[in-house]
Symmetry: D2
Subunit: 91 residues, 4 copies
């Protein structure tokens, strides 16, 4: 992964870690369920953005590199593994 992607993802994950701790506190404090679910949704969306940054970097570098190689088995494996992770990430 590119250094800029790494740094950006790590900063996002640090914020997400704080949000997860904040969620535990909301529950301890007996906050209203609807506010908690709204906040869980926000944290999932933030994780989605990490996922998208990693995928963009992966397609822009690992997939590109595999495609530029002459190794057609490597190309097939790269496409297979990208599709598998996309399918898993959709649920």
């Amino acid at each position: 992964m590119q250094e800029t992607t790494k740094n950006s993802c790590i900063r996002r994950l640090e914020r997400i870690e704080g949000q997860v701790r904040g969620l535990a506190r909301m529950i301890e404090d007996g906050r209203y369920c609807i506010d908690i679910v709204t906040q869980v949704t926000a944290v999932r969306a933030a994780l989605r953005r990490v996922e998208q940054e990693v995928l963009r970097d992966h397609i822009g570098h690992c997939v590109r590199e595999a495609m530029e190689s002459e190794d057609s088995r490597k190309q097939d494996r790269t496409i297979q593994e990208l599709m598998d992770v996309l399918v898993r990430s959709q649920s």
Copy 2:
């Protein structure tokens, strides 16, 4: 929220906090993108289960209570707010 739901959700969130920290470490260690995306997907699924527990408790208690009340404005508001949070949580 019921005490058992609270405790279960807080325990889940503590594990999720550890998973988020683990994710930052995976990125620092230069782990393969596909493994990172797979793990982000797992954390999102774990948050989904927190959300589902909170919603189940909410429907079983807050919604039930609103419906048992004679206050039809409260009933309408409760349904509206449940639908809104469901719609938001689907994305």
Copy 3:
């Protein structure tokens, strides 16, 4: 289900049926993959709106009715079945 919900959902489904036929035509015509995926996403979103209308009606009527009943087994079953359908619909 309320008559207005029924009519609105049936009209939506008629439009969706046309969109699905249009999708098959796009594929036959050899349209660009990205345009096809964009259109599949639009049809899935349209189905989501049908689902939300049905759920809103269900919560506003079936769930409300179950909660107003004195039958606590019926209440539990209604909540269980609502949660089950929500969990399934999230994937």
Copy 4:
């Protein structure tokens, strides 16, 4: 798109068209909301599989071809457009 992908997607879409008509009938017949939502979920999942087939073909052919070209603007545009459609399709 490859002929086999085209044919497979068109067959899937024909089945989906029938499922959408079936859904309208379920609503007209006053079937239980939960059964309707379950069926809408099944149709959305079937559309998801069409989307995945198209994407797999797209990555295996259009993206591969762009990557094999020496045209770096074409490569960038292909990655950008793939990421955009993935982001849209996640909601």
